[in-house]
Subunit: 162 residues, 2 copies
């Protein structure tokens, strides 16, 4: 019955493939770590937010921390695990596309800068030999695993771009 393609994209989407999950991560990347603030900044319904946070914690993307300041009630916060931090390119790629195709006349609401040099940062496709590819993915080719050991130039493999 030709079940759906086995694919890392689909598996990743099982974890972060819903609107609120990604927006929650955006907030955490921006330094917002607490329930109420995430709720306010994303607009996610509280019940759904609870659900999503639980899922992200279960998936190992977020960790639930608890801390108490002197004499205060204990508080919770959500922080990124290493796996969570590695989702950064997903967020920057989404943001970059929105900046380019959906920004209003005032331009992008947020800019990413390299702390060291202050220059704008963007997502790029690079190959291990150091070549940079265009964002459109021209020159990119997808090879099924069982053929992956072959060298370049096999015209019968599915191509990544026309």
């Amino acid at each position: 019955m030709s079940e759906p393609r086995a694919c890392s994209v689909a598996r990743t989407l099982d974890v972060v493939g819903e609107r609120w999950s990604l927006l929650v991560l955006r907030e955490v990347f921006l330094g917002v770590r607490r329930f109420d603030l995430i709720h306010k900044h994303t607009g996610a319904p509280r019940a759904v937010l609870t659900e999503r946070l639980r899922r992200l914690v279960d998936a190992g993307v977020l960790r639930r921390g608890e801390y108490r300041e002197e004499g205060r009630r204990p508080r919770h916060e959500y922080e990124l695990t290493e796996a969570g931090r590695e989702l950064r390119p997903v967020l920057t790629a989404l943001m970059q596309w929105g900046d380019r195709y959906l920004a209003g006349p005032e331009g992008p609401p947020l800019q990413l800068r390299h702390t060291d040099c202050g220059a704008p940062v963007r997502t790029a496709l690079i190959c291990e030999d150091g070549h940079q590819l265009p964002d459109s993915g021209e020159g990119l080719r997808a090879v099924p695993r069982h053929l992956a050991s072959r060298e370049a130039g096999d015209g019968s493999a599915p191509r990544g771009a026309e």
Copy 2:
């Protein structure tokens, strides 16, 4: 009442923020352009697939083509527009994360290669001065637009990573 944050991530998710939208795009990037095959490879319900294709066309990400081979019934196909092709980094970033954190023991189902040199391709964060940042986004800082003209080093701006 503190409406949700204005953000390009959210705007992009209005277009491609649902599971099936991204999986449709994965297929088109892999060269699958027809309704039934996309249906089979993604597993999306036909009605939902119709809906998503319409939305992607409306958003200018896909274009609906029609062509007829000699003496055959006309066929439809979906192809990427320029805006659609520019979503490639989003897909590669999702795939890359899944390859790393969710691949089974057999490894990633699909590998991306540079056509010219055969080397594996990946998503990276780079700054305009040519520095490459770690995927975790360390050294990355998000600056609100109204402050974006300032130079680096303003500690009061929200930081991109702890």
